[in-house]
Amino acid sequence: MKLGTNLSLYGDVRDRNESAWLLPSSPGFPHRLRDEMTRYDERDEVDIVIVGCGAGGGTLAQRLARAGWSVVALDAGPFWDPETDWVSDERGSHSLYWTDPRVISGADPVPLGSNNSGRGVGGSMVHYAGYTPRFHPSDFATFTGDGVGADWPISYTDLRPYYEQLEQELPVAGQDWPWGDPHSYPFHAQPISGNGDVFIAGCEKLGIPARVGPVAIANGRFGNRPRCIYRGFCLQGCKVNAKASPLITHIPDALAHGAEIRAHCHVSKVLVDDHTGRATGVTYFKDGIEHRQRARMVAVAGYSIETPRLLLLSASNRFKDGLCNDDGQVGRYVMVQGAPQTAGRFEAEVRMYKGPPPEVSCEQFYETDPAKPYKRGFSIQTVSPLPITYAEHVVAQGHWGESLREYMRDYVHWASLGALCELLPLHSNAVTLSDEVDRHGLPVANFHYSMGENDKQLMAAAQTKMEEILRAAGATETMTIRRFAHLVGGCRMARSPKDGVVNAEQRTFAVPNLYITDGSVLPTQGSANPALTIMSLAARVADHLTAHQHTGPAAAAEARHG
């Protein structure tokens, strides 16, 4: 059943999440909804305060507001209006990224900022490409199945209903999916551009299956969201409102159900009462002044760098080494995917800047191949770097000066593929506090990262495969940049506090009313872009919380007011 051809399914989504219908029919954000937003007093003890309005925080806020909870969600960055705040320009999109200072170290330091870190309502999904694959069932038990990584305390089937819900709400377009748990998508796949044509042609030559999608851009209108105009600036924030991010997929519905989204609020500490052991709210900086928001429950959704940093900054007499860190698990097992990108030169003009960078994927090499010396695998997707990013690819080959200019003049002839390699979780890959401080005087994060041997083999194998595909499609030259993408882990979910920070319901082991609802809870990362999984996990937490609402915070609030 496809949305757009099936109105009853369309209506079902609208009954659950009206965001796409609350947006204006012209571009931008519904300002009236924002102006008339519920505003809580800091002295109010709200049902929940959520730290961060990205994939995890935005989804949780919408679900809980709909269930009648009083919700305040704080974000360090702005409350965006896509029409007036974002530009159709690579360099001008700098404000979308988390650019507060951070230190990177280790044998393979991972650049942050534009690569993987968002700031503002919508989070990193404002500037992600738009790929929204599901994880495979095998991802949830790599230790049992492959002898590497870690087993999750939940299985794929626990998450499947939420994958289905979110795929409808974003919504996701793509061909029928043959890999992992085979499934179909609510929207048919989009038409593709020259870059996608090259990938499909190369795969066909080699007998490798490839599929269009899964991309969180509706193929056609969706509610008041217009269709994609093939502008090619997905990574710079979608001015069109065609590509999904929580800013347009979940925040409008959250506002309509009474949530308060408080922007430009940098949370400095999660407050815990050392006597009761319970969280009581948060402190945050706004315009240089420290405020406090009281809450009956706290959910941290600041992603893999800022969430561990916040817990470490929230040390108290009871939690001397950082909140929830009695077992030294906070900030550990942070992962990035190995994301080499290979470009190939074609006689024809490819002009890869046209059309959305996310178009075609291949998950044929996702799982462990017993014939290979390494465990687990990689996926391959189209990517389409714009000129500044493409110049980085050229510089990575050692070119500068006239050589760099000459390569760049040839930009229109190159197609690009990117791999996502499942790099394994290591205890030593960690976020700690640096000696440096930010503008509020708070120590910044130091992210230490080094690859293991399996990781290096995967990166090399993925590069070889991309070169083969591009050559098969007719490329006469190839070049590869070794890089990383995405962030997950740092406060992983586990069966016991010895192995992680949160349990299967994403409640911290240490503090009974403190939850973590972002990518930092993932024990492994598969070779899939993490956004859909982070949202689905947050929706699952919300179901868990609201299932108990008659005895939970909302009911308590009702009793108090009633």
Binding site: W86, R91, P109, G113, R351, G355, I388, E402
Partner: protein
């Protein structure tokens, strides 16, 4: 359209940096400026008129930064994209990439230090500063930093210094409409978008590549020659 926009656009008609014959003859991204949204147009056109009064670099640093950026981007003749001025704006406002290597100072400090180091190297070559050396000597000095790779250059890992310089320089250069004219990239695309997808498919406003030269064989030869030249220059002075 706003008259000042017309004025800026007219003064920049069809320009590419330097004087090489263009690969995309007649291509001018600014022809489409009235089809860009106002916010984007404002941001992009501002790059065409950066203030010549720099505020982060000192005069000495500015001269060295300009010489370095001219080398990194082979801007050896007018018209030049004002790369150092565009970098100055970022450093003055503290607009970093949101991270720095643990073995490097934060970006603004790292720029000041490394520009001073370049001048030190130039003094060893018999000059007073990088900008006072001849083109070939400048190129040899820059090349020497790149070739150190992971080794230390004045106490900093050369590869991280190289990353700092090239990130800032390429971001400035390839954000400029003249550079887009040179590479056939039409720049902003909202609310216009694209309609003609596929290999060799073009919009009316896109111009076909007139040369279609594979850069790989040429750069291989040019870079080998550059290395020989650098070795000769360094050999002479030592």
């Amino acid at each position: 359209m706003n008259p000042s926009v017309v004025f800026i656009a007219d003064r920049n008609r069809g320009r590419t940096p330097g004087s090489s014959p263009p690969r995309f003859p007649g291509f001018d991204v600014l022809n489409e400026v009235d089809r860009w949204d106002a916010v984007t147009a404002g941001v992009v056109l501002a790059r065409l008129t950066p203030s010549p009064e720099l505020s982060f670099f000192t005069g000495v640093e500015q001269a060295t930064a300009e010489a370095l950026c001219d080398q990194l981007l082979a801007q050896h003749e007018e018209p030049r994209i004002p790369v150092a001025a565009l970098i100055d704006v970022r450093l003055a406002t503290g607009e970093t990439d949101g991270w720095h290597y643990a073995d490097m100072p934060e970006d603004a400090q790292a720029w000041r230090q490394t520009l001073a180091f370049l001048d030190n190297d130039a003094k060893r070559q018999g000059g007073t500063s990088l900008s006072q050396l001849g083109q070939q000597q400048q190129a040899a000095l820059v090349q020497a930093v790149q070739e150190l790779d992971a080794q230390s250059w004045h106490g900093l890992p050369a590869t991280h210094v190289w990353s700092l310089w090239t990130r800032y320089a390429c971001t400035a250069f390839y954000s400029h409409p003249w550079a887009w004219n040179e590479i056939g990239f039409p720049g902003p695309a909202y609310p216009r978008g694209y309609k003609n997808m596929g290999l060799d498919a073009r919009e009316k406003f896109e111009v076909a590549d007139a040369a279609n030269t594979d850069p790989v064989p040429w750069t291989r030869r040019a870079e080998a020659a550059k290395r020989r030249q650098a070795a000769a220059v360094t050999g002479e002075s030592s």
